[in-house]
Amino acid sequence: MIEVVGLNMTFGGLTQSGGSVEALRDVNLRIEDNEFLTVLGPSGCGKTTLLRAIGGLVTWNSGEIRIDGRAVTGPGPERAMVFQNVALLPWDTVLSNIAFGLELRGMAREDRERKAMELVDLVGLSGFERRMPRELSGGMQQRVGLARALAVEPKVLLMDEPFGALDEQTRRILQEELIRIWERTRTTVVFVTHSMDEAVLLGDRIALFSARPGTVDEVLRVPLPRPRSRDIGSIERSAEFVAIRSRLWERLREMQPDLRRPAPVARIAS
């Protein structure tokens, strides 16, 4: 179980006016074991910052993040991340990239490559294990990124807009693959996205973020049945899907900062 309690984070003194940016304010969130939580919000709302905080890659001002009761102070072996820009080592083969996390943990080459081969099969990259990352398409690269994270058998998978940079068709295929894989492994997942469809399709619950300062606006339960991998098309046409999607859009439109607040231009002019 992941608990985020009263999390506040401020980036100090980075703006030209010398002021600080409040990235997160009083974020409270609870993610159950084996739950798929999607975090949805407008760009720049701090949802990626929250994910990096859970990953132990950034520090915050106050509040606490606990995983199974233990406070997060840095990266840990029970968590693994999937990055939007994939971040594959360009000098390593697909297989070595997938085995990278295991290698860092000191697993012997033979063992980690055997383990990595299982994941090559799981993510559908058989035959590509000796290729270099630059020889793969964007979608295949992200499959490697997913396999690398799954290889260390994390209790928590942290995914930062992993399909955000992909074209529509590739994204669809990878969403289906992720649903299929997740329904087999049931790892706890925190999945950051700015796509409403993606948030609904993948998540058990959706944490809706508002921007500036970033905070949890609302948590919605997705009433769609599992397994969803059977027939994604009919799920998307179902009344439940359409209802929750329009509810999300309502809230997102209300919180659009450029519609609600006076433009920052006014301040510069004065």
Binding site: G56, F83, A87, P90, W91
Partner: protein
């Protein structure tokens, strides 16, 4: 099928490149020959005389000894520059403290005309191999440091973050991310540094310690042996070209994932 076709085209392009090179060189040689025969100067050999001088030198033991002496300072100085320069540059790229400590001296080396240092070196070290070696080091180490530093800095920060997220230690980050990531730029630095080392080797011999190839050049100039003088210069140029081609090959071989890595080509 298509790969066969494209390689045939590749060969044709390569062939036309060679043809061009031969043609321009022939033109250059003819112009040289014409100008020198018309000038009739003791100081300007004809192209054909230079060619003969070139082969005369290749059979001359005296010349090979000079080449050996010069290359002593090149090999020693360049090796020292590589061994010191790469770690120093890498450390400067990653650690603020190293950057602060060394940056001033690096900038001094970058802006100082190296030739101005020669008298100072000779006064402190004398007309020795040591002073020649030190000069070669000073000539070549700057480019090696600057490129190594740039190499570490240009490593994609998201790779470092990714490694950290999987629990990598600083040591593991060095071995698995920073070193391979900076390798292309380091190799570029080594190649540029090699060119500068050859320059340093010849300059110190020309300006102060009249031994080796530089000494030979001065000697031939003194006796108006223009053909041998030109022949010597040609051989030095050929040696430098051969070394740099070798370095370029090595660069491509050790870092095939980096197509273009020219970071700071201001040699």
């Amino acid at each position: 099928m298509s790969s066969v076709g494209s390689s045939a085209i590749g060969q044709r392009i390569a062939a036309s490149h060679t043809t061009y090179r031969v043609l321009t060189f022939a033109l250059f040689a003819a112009a040289w020959e014409a100008y020198a025969s018309q000038a009739r100067s003791l100081l300007i050999p004809r192209f054909s005389e230079t060619v003969i001088g070139f082969f005369t030198l290749l059979t001359d033991r005296h010349f090979w000894e000079a080449l050996f002496i010069s290359n002593q300072s090149l090999v020693l100085g360049f090796s020292i520059a590589v061994v010191l320069g790469i770690p120093l540059g890498l450390a400067m790229g990653r650690f603020r403290a190293a950057e602060r400590a060394v940056d001033v001296y690096l900038n001094i080396l970058l802006v100082t005309p190296m030739a101005a240092l020669i008298p100072i070196l000779l006064m402190s070290l004398g007309l020795t191999l040591a002073s020649r070696v030190v000069l070669v080091v000073l000539f070549s180490i700057v480019m090696i440091i600057v490129n190594s530093r740039a190499g570490v800095r240009q490593v994609d920060p998201s790779l470092i973050e990714m490694a950290r997220s999987f629990g990598a230690s600083e040591r593991q980050i060095w071995w698995r991310v920073l070193l391979p990531g900076s390798l292309p730029a380091v190799m570029t630095g080594v190649r540029i540094g090699l060119g500068r080392a050859v320059t340093g080797m010849v300059i110190v011999e020309l300006l102060m310690v009249a031994v080796g190839i530089g000494g030979l050049i001065l000697e031939y100039r003194g006796f108006f042996k223009a053909d041998l003088l030109y022949g010597t210069v040609v051989i030095v140029v050929l040696e430098a070209l051969a070394l740099i081609t070798l370095a370029r090959r090595l660069e491509r071989r050790v870092a095939p994932w980096a197509r273009q890595s020219g970071v700071m080509e201001r040699a």
